[in-house]
Amino acid sequence: MAINRRDFLKFSAGTGLVLATDAKVSAAREKKELSPDAVGILYDATLCIGCMSCMVNCKKANAEPGGALYHKETAGQIPYEYEGEEQKYDAPTSLSDKTLCLIKAYRGKSEKEEGEGEFSFIKQHCLHCVDPACVSACPVQALKKQPGTGIVTYDKNRCFGCRYCQVACPFGIPMYEWEKSSPSVVKCQLCNHRIAQGGYSACCEACPTGASLFGKVTDLQEEAKRRLNLKAGDTYAYPVNHIEHGKTTEQVVPEYVDHVYGLEEAGGTQYMFLAGVDFDKLGFNPKITNQVYPDLTWEYVSHVPQLIGTLLVAGTVTRLVTQRMEKKNKDNESGE
């Protein structure tokens, strides 16, 4: 039976596979499903009045031990970012190593009604992706997705500061303590320390209008879809703070953009958004797609074991073949 070249290639690749493949590693990457106990936040920009209670409370709650802003050296201090000399107001303009949560305002001209401008607030913090790019990127498992709650947490004692998480996160969320000689990554951890003690996210607890609503992600998804089906102008009893706590407030239903941001984006997130203004205008990178980002690198990493095997076999075979050829040449020469 003649062996053609392609069969030979297949064979050598196969040998490599057998040699080096750990079956589990090379198996297709499991699709990460949303855990039924996953918790998250639904932010409805149309309800937000821009009071920034969430920002203030986020800082306070996270400056406590266990919080994402807590440092032994600065225990008891809340990391405000003052502007001007009076040092009166905490005035961050973007997320930073001192600010996990930020309210921004968008003002723009609407295309339909001339003159009358569109307006919206938007709240930025980590989206707790269902399959987070940052977790897949971190080489030392400093960033982890908690089983159950699905919260993406950070362990500063593991982190060695490569900052690949910053490169990987499509939403540009992880911030770095550039000014410290012993720096950490800083990002919202959904108030994991409070949830561990039976509480919930400080930003939602502080929100007076229900714009930031805490709950199980599945409940929040239903709630979001329900709101999109409401008729503009009707009134609706909007849940406030925590979707399971039963507190509501009656509001007139606004005109929604027919999209729940976070349902599909980056493969789905546990922090979701509703708004009356196009999401592209609200500071979301328009190049973010529904791509599950970790799949992009897994496509490569999953082939590494095979490549190791194949290259080792190919290298050895080449050496053997050239050695034999050399020997033959020598034999021929001496034979003549």
């Binding site: 982190c159 900052r163 690949y164 770095y176 973010i288 080449t318 050399e326």
Partner: protein, 374 residues
Amino acid sequence: MESNPNIKTWTPATMVMVVLIIVGISVGLYRMIYGLGATTNLNDAYPWGFWLGLDVLGGVAMAAGGFIIACAVYLFNWKKYRPIVRPAILTAFLGYLMAVLALFLDIGHPFRLWHPSIMWQYQSVMWVVAMHVIFYTTTLALEFSPMLFERLGWEKARRAVGKIMVGAVIFGVMLSTLHQSSLGAVFLISPSKMSPLWWDTKLPFHFLVSAVAMGLAMVSFETALSKKFLHHEVDKEIFTGLARGLLIVLGFYLLLKLYQLFTVASPAMAFDGSVEGNMYLLEMFLGVILPVAILAVKKYRNDLKVIFAVNIIVIIGVILNRMNVCLFSQESYGAWRGLGYSPSWKEFLVSLGVISIGVFLYKMSAKHLPLFSH
């Protein structure tokens, strides 16, 4: 074996290097004490900067010559290149040492550099990269050790390494191939930040092929230098052979990049006058198209002076490519976030220091080690 009397230790160039090394180390210490913010212009939109682009990505690409020549000599049995196998391995070893040194300064917690070796996360490209650095630097040290043993007269140790040399080379070729491509794979996860002029699912392959080109150019370049300054006789055939190899690899790379330009990006992007477009054109014309055009002419391909010049522009071109992938490809993303980056003078000084350490060690090795004795 005696030290090479042709090489003087204290030349003006060496003195300059020593000064640069001292300055670099001082700024490095400053960084260790005061942190990255005080030393660099890095920020949250540009977490990776000059050190990573030039010293780490560039340094590793520069080191590719080591595995290519080792592969040619030990695996393909191309004896012609035996005289340059040691300098090539030395360059690779030094290139990796430089990269590790730069990484040490670049990561937030230098003394946790070892963390990936015990905290595994095999889904992370960065973890794969870290493991390759560890294993390949060790392998290179092993491949380099015979030069040291020979000099010290440790015959037994030399013979012991000699026995496993072929195994080490096979292992090294595997590691190196994967490491070069893994460095490209690192960027696969950021399509929403990088310009499609560089981002592509084939990025790992692009990195590998351009590293091979860089490796060939680098080996030829330094062989020419040691011929001139260290009075080391080299056959012309080695240079022309390397130039032919360079033409083939760069030609192939050009096709890859053109394919990407027409399928993933679009030619219009390259010519739209943006920073990305201009950097792309510079990189492609200087580092790829021009050298291919020159080397395609047989007369030039056999002219040592021309080859020398081509090597230089290829080296610059590939370094430019790494800087582009790491920095300039994110220009519009950075602008969208309202942040920019250009290296601080402290970053420059550290990079200069790191490069000077590499060159200085190379020179000292050339003087004191049997680098060309084969």
